[in-house]
Symmetry: C2
């Protein structure tokens, strides 16, 4: 298998899903964000966002803290160091594969 | 919605699926390739590769020519100009979003 194709084969599928990629990119950019902000930024329903956050929390990519601001419940989401490392590995791998591919033109491959 | 997050929301999902991304990257690199070469390079079963190729053919991203070399059937796959443009748009959009995200650190977002 061509090395750049192998990079794509080995991409972290948990992050590759576009909604989860958006969530992780936002948290990488902001440090932390509350549920409503993420919902608005990602354009996701409450149910979809909850389900994606649960998957990211299970992988220990995101940590979720439920607290109150006055009487208002607040769900704060943060990227963990493990999540930040996973996102940056994913990103490096994918950018390299896409950029390398753009440069190298090869030969037709058939018998 | 943040512009770089919007880029991710608008990614072409047909190409984003890793197996189809691999197929298109290989065809972009080689010009054309036969079914067995693609199967080996992508590490896909015959059934999976057929089903992904069918989706790419339906979108007119790939064209498929069945011919014979002697008595041996040969299935040649090519990226169409539409497919090449879609892959390069996808690639540009994703690389920009990932690279922009890596640079800009923002503020926590919660009330």
């Amino acid at each position: 298998m061509n090395p750049r194709i192998q990079e794509v084969a080995q991409l972290d599928r948990l992050i590759h899903e576009p909604a989860r990629l958006m969530i992780m990119m936002i948290l990488q950019g902001t440090g932390e964000a509350d549920f409503l902000y993420l919902q608005r930024e990602c354009g996701l329903t409450q149910g979809n966002l909850s389900s994606h956050l649960l998957k990211l929390e299970e992988a220990a990519y995101v940590e979720i803290e439920k607290k109150f601001k006055g009487k208002r419940p607040l769900t704060i989401c943060r990227l963990t160091p493990k999540g930040a490392a996973a996102l940056s590995g994913y990103s490096r791998r994918l950018v390299q594969a896409l950029q390398a591919n753009h440069k190298g033109k090869g030969q037709p491959r058939h018998p």
